[in-house]
């Protein structure tokens, strides 16, 4: 690839959560990991972030109605 995928203007900001961050997040929502939305391990962004199965990725999206919105996905 000529350019890192994350630098493309259409790709929202992805960030790999540390283990304890992910744990805190789940506690905050009172969740099991399997209740989070999923993202494929083969997703190009997962490759770029070197994410492994079970990791949680934080995505900050620019929403037309709500400004910056945070979304979490678990790698499967």
């Amino acid at each position: 690839m000529l350019k890192a995928l994350s630098e493309h203007h259409l790709v929202p900001q992805h960030e790999l959560l540390k283990k304890d961050e992910a744990k805190n997040l789940l506690a905050q929502f009172g969740l099991d990991v399997d209740k989070l939305p999923r993202i494929s391990l083969e997703d190009p962004m997962c490759t770029e972030l070197k994410a492994g199965i079970g990791d949680v990725i934080r995505i900050v999206r620019r929403s037309p109605v709500a400004g910056d919105t945070i979304y979490y996905r678990r790698v499967v």
């Binding site: 929502f29 009172g30 969740l31 399997d34 209740k35 989070l36 939305p37 929403s63 109605v65 709500a66 400004g67 919105t69 945070i70 979304y71 979490y72």
Partner: protein, 869 residues
């Protein structure tokens, strides 16, 4: 609550031993009842198999009718018969195995080899493979016995080399097949054995499944299944007697075949190759398979197709004098539907009065001990005396009862709303035309359904969550969906026009119709302006500022917005402290929205009441009407029109010439052909727009500047009540460019669209530009082009509704389980997260003002005003 999870359901075949074990009693005689009408012991109606008489107890479980689930009986078949639904399974086995030793007619090595193949196949394919390899083997490789060809004469007769193969012989044969060979055929021997396909015992279903009916004449009529079972038992007994008496083989075989026939039709009376068993009357019997199969079967009719009680359906008609939360229920329906009411110390006397009154007011009374009585003139007095607190009275509908009202397709939540009952004459259900929109109803023959909630919980839930006035704001965009329509808009416009003035007498008449009893101070000398009167319908303290429908028409009329233009002042409605200061009120949703958000629903209801009544009265008083002549354009517009058309023809022809000579500059990103077509379409639209703007301006000026304007189509259009500027343009302006599939009509003959054109004419009029309008009429060429556009429109509406309807259904179904959880996340039924915050911003449009958490402008204004005081 005890919850158990169902792991799965297994379907299998009952063995004769299981049938006997399950049976509560063995049935021995074909009789049902004795001559005194009591069920026979060991007969088909033996009370060991359950009870259908509410006063009797089951002899097996000792429970009463409602509690006893029914119990199976059993019947020993004297000679075995084949279950017709399994005869093809038997056929496979007979084809594949040896009659003498029961082995598959293949060498052991071949079998082992096949096992590896079978592992990759489905059960059906595996069996097919075995049968294919063995069917024609004339010698058994295991016992060297000769094999003969087996033939199945469907459904149940087997032959071996043209000799009959009887069920008992088949049973012996398949019993011989060893376990390891059956496994190859896909049998799990812990569950099914092939010999069970030849039945030696028959299940007799519980009486609850085949109840006898006592006709009014006192004659008992038996269920079809019972009839069939009687046939089976009778033949079974005759067969037994004949065998015991040593009757000739021929007679025994005939009876045996007859038994087979009865058992076959008992399971399925539509078996191919078997004549259906008939009732005495000649009607075919409805046996087991018929009960389940098809449209009228248990699955499609009873399980998938649920029906409810306490519901009504009728044609709907409009009634603007009903409140929005009322539904007009015709007497016939109101006197049939009932609602339970509990007798308390507060309504005891009232209930007594109601029962005493007679007629159809009360249908049933249930005493606290559960005894239910139907009220008739004979026992009325007695019931009134006995009526006590805690009784349940089932009375017919009264004014003010709450009901659910629904129109299919129920696409969204406002397709079913709660209304108060208002009993009306006639046979049709009535609703306020303002609630047509949520239901998507009109009155061209639409029917709607009505349901009566039967419990306090149900009624309260309906009232709190589904009442019309609680659903005025749409959860989609936060704007009201239950607003004034058509006549309401025109009427309000008429009332709040600058020119509208009333004398004292007229004003009192108008206010009376609005339900206002106080006459305000006159504001125009001795007279009253319409705006002043309308303000009386508004709640005190109401503040609003918004643009009305006139603003839209002004935009279309292309009138520049400069300080001198007086028309613009009409477009802005200013309401302060419940007084309309300026502008013309049509029914723009904004006003309703302000009322809903700031006042109680009762106040909104009162506003709607005033509006409906005043609009009706005013339009009757003033007279709103249209005639053809108003579509005859005035001379000045006619001149404008001719000029615009001449320009179009000239410009269009020039374009066409340029295109033909190849000098046309294409639009970036398009080919030359596309550019030309697009330019021609745009040109046609431009011309119509020009004339349309002039027409709009004329209508606006007439309506606003004439001291006594005619109340015609211009009023309807400007107020937004009905019709658009486009419709006007079609009628008295220029029709403009016809479009088919978003472009000029193409495809016709070679080199021209229709035979009326010159060859290779690419100009405007050859391509579907219509210079006429409906008032003047079109020439044949224009008419034809117009028809092409018309046809396209017709096709599109058909396709669009079909496609988008299904698309919407799929979307709605996929989203129906999503909900907002307590932590504001959106989750699926299994609690998976879809959104971490509802709508990403956590805002519910119906509870916010225009998507913002508060109307800050208005709040600040209020604060400032408070300070000033």
């Amino acid at each position: 609550m005890l919850m158990k999870r169902l792991e799965g359901i297994e379907f299998s075949v009952l063995s004769p031993e299981q049938i006997r074990k399950m049976a509560a009693i063995e049935i021995k005689t074909p009789d049902t009842y004795d001559k005194d009408g009591f069920p026979m012991e060991g007969g088909l109606m033996d009370p060991h198999m359950g009870v259908i008489n509410p006063s009797l107890r089951c002899k097996t479980c000792g429970q009463k009718m409602k509690q006893c689930p029914g119990h199976f009986g059993s019947l020993e078949l004297i000679r075995p018969v084949i279950h017709a639904k399994f005869s093809h399974k038997l056929e496979e086995l007979l084809h594949g195995t040896c009659r003498e030793c029961g082995r598959i007619a293949l060498k052991d090595e071949q079998i082992a080899e096949m096992k590896t193949q079978i592992a990759r196949l489905t059960k059906e394919e595996a069996i097919k493979l075995i049968v294919k390899k063995t069917k024609t083997k004339r010698k058994c490789p295991h016992c060297e016995a000769e094999r003969k060809e087996v033939l199945l004469d469907k459904p149940t007769n087997f032959f071996i080399d043209k000799d009959r193969l009887y069920p008992s012989q088949i049973r012996e044969w398949v019993e011989k097949i060893p376990e390891k060979d059956l496994e190859l055929f896909g049998y799990d021997l812990a569950r099914v054995r092939p010999e069970w396909f030849v039945m030696t015992a028959l299940q007799v279903p519980p009486i609850t499944i085949r109840p006898s009916i006592t006709l009014e004449s006192g004659i008992k009529s038996e269920d079809d299944l019972t009839h069939k079972l009687v046939d089976i038992i009778r033949i079974n007994l005759r067969l037994k007697d004949n065998i015991d008496a040593g009757a000739p083989q021929l007679i025994i075989e005939d009876l045996w075949d007859l038994l087979q026939y009865h058992v076959t039709t008992y399971y399925d009376n539509n078996t191919a190759g078997v004549p259906p068993a008939k009732h005495r009357s000649g009607r075919p019997l409805r046996t087991l398979a018929q009960r389940l199969k098809g449209k009228k079967g248990r699955f499609r009719y009873n399980l998938t197709g649920k029906r409810v009680n306490y519901a009504a359906r009728s044609t709907i008609i409009p009634d603007p004098f009903l409140s929005i939360n009322e539904v007009g229920v015709p007497e016939g329906i109101a006197n049939t539907l009932t609602v339970p009411e509990f007798v308390t110390e507060w309504n005891l006397e009232e209930m007594k009065k109601l029962i005493k009154k007679g007629g159809e007011n009360v249908v049933y009374v249930t005493k606290p001990n559960g005894l239910r009585k139907k009220i008739s003139d004979l026992n009325r007095k007695e019931v009134v005396e006995e009526l006590e607190i805690g009784s349940k009275v089932e009375r017919t509908l009264q004014n003010g009862d709450i009901v659910l009202f629904n129109r299919q397709p129920s696409l969204h939540r406002v397709s079913m709303l709660a209304h108060n009952v208002k009993i009306v004459p006639g046979k049709a259900l009535r609703l306020n035309p303002m609630v047509c929109k949520p239901y998507n109803a009109d009155f061209d023959g639409d029917e709607m359904n009505l349901h009566v909630p039967q419990t306090q919980e149900g009624q309260t839930e309906a009232r709190e969550l589904m009442f019309v006035q609680n659903q005025i704001l749409s959860p989609r965009h936060g704007e009201p969906i239950i607003v004034g329509q058509e006549d309401d808009m025109t009427g309000l416009f008429l009332l709040t026009m600058d020119q509208t003035e009333f004398t004292k007498e007229e004003a009192m008449h108008v206010l009376y119709n609005m339900g206002v009893t106080e006459l305000p101070e006159a504001d125009r000398g001795k007279n009253y302006s319409g705006r002043l009167l309308f303000s009386q319908a508004l709640p005190k303290g109401l503040n609003a500022e918004y643009t009305n429908n006139t603003a839209r028409v002004l935009r279309q009329a292309d009138i520049p917005k400069d300080g001198n233009e007086s028309l613009y002042k009409h477009a802005l409605v200013k309401i302060e402290d419940g007084n309309v200061l300026s502008g013309i009120v049509d029914s723009t949703p904004k006003l309703v929205e302000t009322i809903v958000r700031n006042y109680s629903t009762e106040i909104l209801e009162r506003y709607y009441y005033s509006m409906a009544h005043v609009v009706h009265e005013l339009m009757t008083m003033k007279g709103v009407t249209i005639g053809v002549e108003e579509f005859n354009p005035v001379a000045s517009i006619e001149a404008e029109r001719e000029k615009a058309i001449a320009e179009e023809i000239k410009e269009g022809t020039e374009l066409a010439e340029k295109y033909a000579s190849g000098k046309l500059e294409p639009i970036p990103g398009r080919s030359v052909d596309e550019s030309f077509e697009s330019m021609m379409v745009r040109l046609g639209g431009k011309v119509r727009g020009k004339v349309q703007a002039r027409l709009a301006e004329q209508k606006l000026r007439h309506l606003y500047e004439n001291p006594r304007p005619t109340l015609d189509s211009a009023l309807l259009m400007v107020s937004g009540g009905r019709g658009s500027m486009l419709n006007f343009s079609y009628m008295s302006g220029v029709f403009g460019q016809i479009s088919v599939r978003s472009g000029r009509p193409k495809k016709g003959f070679s080199e021209r669209l229709i035979a009326l054109n010159e060859r290779n004419d690419l100009g405007p009029e050859a391509g579907g530009f219509v210079r006429s309008n409906f008032y003047r009429g079109m020439n044949p060429k224009e008419y034809f082009m117009h028809s092409m556009g018309g046809r396209q429109g017709e096709v599109d509406t058909g396709v669009a509704t079909k496609v988008s309807g299904y698309l919407y259904r799929r979307l709605a179904n996929s989203l129906k389980d999503l909900h907002v959880a307590n932590d504001e996340t959106v989750r699926t039924a299994s609690k998976d997260i879809v959104q971490f915050r509802y709508g990403e911003d956590g805002i519910f449009p119906a509870r916010t003002t225009g998507g913002a958490l508060a109307n800050f402008k208005e709040e600040i204004r209020k604060l400032k005003k408070g300070k000033a005081k």
